[in-house]
Every structure is written in structure tokens, then in C-alpha cells.
Symmetry: C2
């Protein structure tokens, strides 16, 4: 599968079949994230991989209740990966300050997408989730209050592997050539 095929195959999965993800598969997904580039090589990320069914179910209850219920589908996934934002290196922080851009978020996008694309290559399905009860997740996992959790990735076995058409802007709408 070439890279464009992989990109076309990746899609948000919100219906999962039960199944256990082998640790070596998960490690390969993390390895893809680990090798991601980041501003000043800061690697401002920490992944909490919740792969034990009972812990995952409890976490999902905390994360996706009340106003966050629209993402309750994630409980059916085999695992949840909680992405904690880590501090950037001094030089990256300085750059962010002077340029007015939180490069640690761009970095997180890169690393998580590496993980997600590796999962896709492993035959797993994923979903980026940004809407969850962060406070409850932190309390449950013992993550200090001052830290920030931007993303949870659900990962598991897709109920339906049919590739949906991706609705996107036309290439001429998203790019200019000079």
C-alpha cells in the first residue's frame, strides 16, 4: 500500500467490533509517533495507552458522559490513547512566543497522525477525539491538573471497512501556485 492509498483508507471509525490489540502492534504504532519531527526536537507529547478492558471502560465512562456523550461510541474501541501535552524545549518555547504560534500543538498533530496511519497499516481503525471531559480524565488517570490533555485516540477493529468518500475542498480551493 503506498502512502496515498493509506491516506485514502484512513477514516474516522465510530463503530468497533470487540478484539484485543497485541502489545507489539501497539508498540509499532507508538514507534511511528516516537519518530515524528517536532519543533526543536522537543517531542512535547506523552501517550497513556489504556488497553486493559476494564480500565478502558471506566475511562470511557468518565470521558464521554453528559455533554460529551456524542463520543460515547469510543467505549466500544479496544483501546483509548490519551495524549498529554508536554512542555516544549526552551528554544521551541522562545520561538512560539516570538512567532505567536503554539508549535507544540502542530507537533502533537504530526505525532498522533503518525500513530494513526501506522494503526491503519496494521489493519486497525481509529478516531481523533477532541471533545471529552478533560477534568474527569485527568482525575481518573492521575494526570496533574496543570497539564493539558488535548486529544484522545480511539483504536480498535472497524465494524465496517468500506471506504467512504472523503468530503474535502477542491485542490484549487485549498492551494495557489506561484
Amino acid at each position: 500500500m503506498n502512502f496515498l492509498e493509506l491516506v485514502k483508507k484512513r477514516q474516522s471509525c465510530r463503530k468497533y467490533l470487540p478484539g484485543i490489540i497485541k502489545k507489539e502492534t501497539m508498540v509499532r504504532c507508538l514507534e511511528a509517533a516516537r519518530l515524528a519531527p517536532s519543533a526543536c526536537n522537543s517531542q512535547p507529547w506523552h501517550f497513556i495507552v489504556v488497553n486493559t478492558p476494564e480500565i478502558k471502560d471506566n475511562l470511557a465512562e468518565k470521558a464521554f458522559s453528559g455533554i460529551y456523550k456524542m463520543n460515547a461510541f469510543a467505549k466500544q474501541a479496544s483501546a483509548l490513547i490519551v495524549v498529554v501535552r508536554e512542555r516544549s524545549q526552551f528554544s521551541a518555547k522562545l520561538g512560539s512566543y516570538f512567532r505567536g504560534v503554539q508549535y507544540s500543538l502542530i507537533d502533537q498533530g504530526i505525532a498522533c497522525e503518525h500513530l494513526i496511519l501506522q494503526a491503519e497499516e496494521e489493519g486497525l481503525a481509529t478516531c481523533w477525539i477532541g471533545w471529552f471531559n478533560e477534568k474527569a480524565v485527568k482525575k481518573f488517570l492521575g494526570v496533574p491538573k496543570i497539564q493539558k490533555i488535548d486529544t484522545i485516540i480511539s483504536i480498535g477493529f472497524a465494524e465496517n471497512t468500506e471506504i467512504r468518500n472523503k468530503i474535502r475542498k477542491d485542490i484549487l480551493e485549498m492551494a495557489d501556485f506561484k
Copy 2:
């Protein structure tokens, strides 16, 4: 080449050989970015592909002079891709507001890395650049002052294709298993 091989092969390139990137190659790179996921499918990005040598040289002069000179290497690249942050959709903006996270930056990380990995697969070399004279770049390209340019990607033909060892945190340092 499988995905992990592609990820290992991608590295920041700061020495380029001259050469012209075919438009169809560039379009495939943009296509990979176009298909990237984003919060509420906002696609908050616009790519200005500067592929004409004289324009690219002038742009590089503006972008990488004075305190930004450390990135003057980028002038040697065949093309520069200027990434303009676009407004997110209302639902994504609302989510960002309530969650305190600029999801448009995570989205930009994903889309640009798609572009970069496709370029790698095409045999091209790239570099993520966050340190440049944004004001001068906007003026030169006619980008409105209120818009934000977070990233420039240099893209071209690597002088040295030898794969360097990536210095990264150990997997157990960047991840916990529960």
C-alpha cells in the same frame, strides 16, 4: 516502502541540489494534505506553492533575512510552500473555545505532515520551518495582515540521502501502558 520505513526515511533536509519539481508530483503531495482529517472537517489551511525559481528566490530573501537567517538554506530548495491558517468552522471554533485548545494548529500539523510524507515517497526532501519573517512574507505574497502564517515547508532534492539516526526519547519515556 511500508509506513514505518517512510517515517524513518523522512528527515529534515537543509542542503538541496538544484532541480525542478514536476507539477503532477506537487499535486500528489497536495492531494495527500487535502485528504487529511481535521476537527469538524474544517480543513483550516491554504497552501501557497511557490515553485517558480525567481519568485521562490525573492520569497526566501524576504522570509529568511536578518534574525531569520539561520533558515536561509531554504533558498536552495526547489520550492517553498507557505501554509496559511484558515478559519475553522463554527462547531470546531466552539469546541476549541470550550476545550481551550487551538485545534486548527493540530489540523495543520496533520495536513502538512501528509504533504511531507508524500513528498518523501516521491523521492523529495523537505524541512518544516517555523522561524521566518511572517510580516515580510505576507507583504510579498499579498496575504492579508489579519491572517496567520505558521509554517513554511521547503521541498526539493536532497544533496545527501543517507538516513541519519533520529535522536528521540525512548518509548517507555514517552508512553505508559494501563
